[in-house]
């Protein structure tokens, strides 16, 4: 009977196509928009992921990595004095304007690394050597800078120059970084040169990057640093999560994406629910005939649920497949943001299952209420 139930479903091609299209669209909207949302939130943590150190120390008021409250330079020494700290180095990070040879400007994220150790250096170089950062006026730009400058007609390469705050910056290398939330390119230089590039300010130290000793647990070191007045230490993962939560709570992004995802659910319920109801309604006479011939509600329920879940899983497959194609395309380009963790697939699957259950239940109620005697009318 279940095979025949599927044949009944597939036989009504128009409704089957409508159901699959509705649920595919629903799954596509939910997975694609959620993935773009997650990708966007992931972009907000780019600085933490580009500068790979276990512990970040910032001003106690700092809530997320893209928020800079300058510290006094002595804070580096205070952190170094904490038992369990192996090393601690300063980091400059701020958004400045780069002036291009044709006079146009481009916002950049200037990142000043400790010149002795170059801790926080980019993980992957496309051209040049990281050590060349120690040369006069040297900077290393990322692949985003190459693209952004190219859009303005400037082919940036090793040896090219531009200005930051009226001072020359000479490109000695090109690196790969994770793209940031605002899309501004990362420009790496040494800490001391970053201070020269930045406008005059009483305090300029942005973060202290820390490595705990091998024999001291990370949590212990974090706790000890947090006891220093005016400072707050974050484990890198924790800092990234706090940044994500901050964007979640303090921006309208979740509402905006949430509305689209909700729209997907509404479209799914409306199209799939209504079409499935129509499908049952049009087959009600046949369902009643089956009841008359001895099909119990249990058998009819199995048939209806099988039909509902078949369209559900087909629609889910198409929707997720289309999202995967979209993701594949955008990941090659690097934008728009896209990150599809398994939780999105599970969430969408659960919503689709709920829509299928709801549709099937509404149909079953109609069948249960139908008088078997309608077969004689």
């Amino acid at each position: 009977m279940l095979r025949l139930a599927l044949k009944m479903l597939f036989g009504d091609r128009a409704k089957y196509a409508m159901l699959v299209c509705g649920l595919s669209f629903c799954a596509l909207l939910m997975t694609q928009q959620s993935s773009v949302f997650c990708g966007l939130l992931l972009w907000s943590t780019a600085t933490v992921r580009n500068i790979q150190v276990p512990i970040w120390v910032a001003d106690e008021k700092v809530e997320q990595v893209n928020e800079v409250v300058p510290l006094r330079d002595v804070e580096v020494q205070r952190v170094r004095s904490v038992p369990g700290v192996d090393w601690a180095v300063p980091l400059f990070w701020n958004i400045l304007q780069a002036r291009l040879p044709d006079g146009t400007f481009q916002a950049i994220q200037l990142t000043g690394l400790d010149s002795a150790t170059l801790v926080g250096r980019p993980v992957k170089m496309q051209a040049g050597r990281i050590e060349d950062l120690r040369l006069p006026n040297a900077v290393i730009v990322d692949q985003v800078a190459i693209k952004k400058f190219a859009r303005k007609g400037i082919a940036l390469r090793v040896g090219s120059t531009f200005e930051i705050n009226d001072k020359e910056a000479r490109v000695v290398g090109i690196c790969e970084t994770y793209r940031s939330f605002l899309g501004q390119p990362y420009v790496f230089t040494t800490y001391s040169r970053a201070l020269e590039y930045s406008p005059p300010q009483r305090k300029k130290l942005c973060f202290v990057l820390v490595q705990p000793r091998a024999d001291t647990p990370l949590a212990t070191v974090l706790e000890r640093i947090n006891q220093l007045r005016g400072l707050r230490a974050f484990a890198a993962d924790d800092f990234a999560w706090k940044t994500i939560v901050w964007y979640f709570v303090n921006t309208g992004i979740p509402i905006s994406f949430g509305i689209v995802v909700l729209l997907g659910v509404v479209v799914g319920v409306a199209i799939a629910g209504q079409t499935f109801y129509l499908f049952i309604h049009e087959n009600l006479r046949f369902m009643a005939a089956l009841k008359a011939m001895g099909a119990g509600m249990g058998m009819l329920a199995r048939m209806v649920f099988l039909q509902a879940f078949t369209v559900g899983f087909t629609g889910y497959g198409f929707g997720v497949g289309l999202t995967a194609l979209f993701g594949n395309a955008v990941l090659t380009r690097g934008e728009p943001p896209f990150y599809m963790p398994w939780q999105i697939l599970v969430f969408t699957g659960v919503v689709i299952v709920l829509i299928c259950c709801l549709s099937a239940l509404v149909g079953l109620v109609k069948i249960a209420r139908a008088e078997v005697a309608i077969v004689f009318k």
Partner: protein
């Protein structure tokens, strides 16, 4: 259940009452109907539209609940059965031929006919084998894999008869089986029902308006305004209707 022979009581109703609606819209469709049908006979229920024929048929086959009175089918009291029992009883003992055939349009003849067997727990292979033989028996063995839309009205009714008989029910219920057919096809359908369905241990009840098929009846129950007006048999039928 007692052994059923030719002439034994198959269906019996006593003081059967069924009403629809309520208040000012109350319609009493059956007003204390006493009705009998016996094994081995083809009994027709006739009467004008709205006289309660289809309501009586629906109650007899257990697809419609009644208000008062009693209904016994092969000695079982339908009023005492729970819905699930009634469904199982119908599945095993009752076959249906509907006016509009009610063949599922997306299933082939073979699949439509195998449904009662599948519902009674037969495997797909056995159900299709028996259904194939039944379709051959009703004369459309070459249309096993045809869909209802590919069949004429007469052929669809043959498939419906095959479906009604395939699980060998003891009660065959036919609701206006010739209403959607031309005269020739209608006659052939009745000939087929008479030839394949009428057996000593089986009762066939046909509700019809079609006086051309009255001569096929062993007995005719005439209904009027929710009551049985008369029951006619053999010679009377020949005198009145032929």
């Amino acid at each position: 259940m007692s052994e059923l022979n030719n002439g034994a009581l198959a269906v019996q109703t006593r003081s059967l009452v069924k009403t629809f609606g309520g208040g000012e819209n109350l319609v009493q469709a059956l007003k204390g109907v006493d009705f009998e049908a016996r094994c081995g006979e083809l009994l027709m229920i006739v009467g004008p539209s709205g006289c309660g024929k289809t309501t009586l048929l629906s109650v007899i086959c257990g697809t419609l609940q009644f208000d008062s009175g009693s209904v016994e089918v092969f000695g079982r009291d339908l009023g005492a059965m729970r819905p699930a029992e009634l469904t199982a009883f119908r599945g095993q003992n009752v076959g249906f031929v509907f006016q509009q055939f009610n063949l599922i349009p997306t299933w082939t003849s073979l699949e439509n006919v195998s449904v009662p067997l599948l519902l009674n727990g037969a495997s797909r292979a056995r159900a299709e084998a028996v259904a194939g033989k039944m379709l051959e028996a009703v004369g459309i063995g070459e249309k096993l894999h045809a869909y209802p839309s590919q069949l004429s009205g007469g052929q669809q009714q043959r498939v419906a008869i095959a479906r009604a008989l395939v699980h060998e029910p003891r009660l065959l219920i036919c609701d206006e089986p010739t209403a959607a057919l031309d005269a020739g096809s209608g006659r052939k359908v009745l000939e087929l029902i008479k030839a394949t369905a009428c057996r000593p241990d089986r009762c066939v009840i046909v509700v019809t308006h079609d006086s051309r098929i009255f001569p096929f009846a062993d007995r005719i129950t005439e209904m009027e305004d929710g009551t049985v007006r008369a029951v006619r048999d053999g010679e009377e039928i020949q005198k009145m209707y032929v």
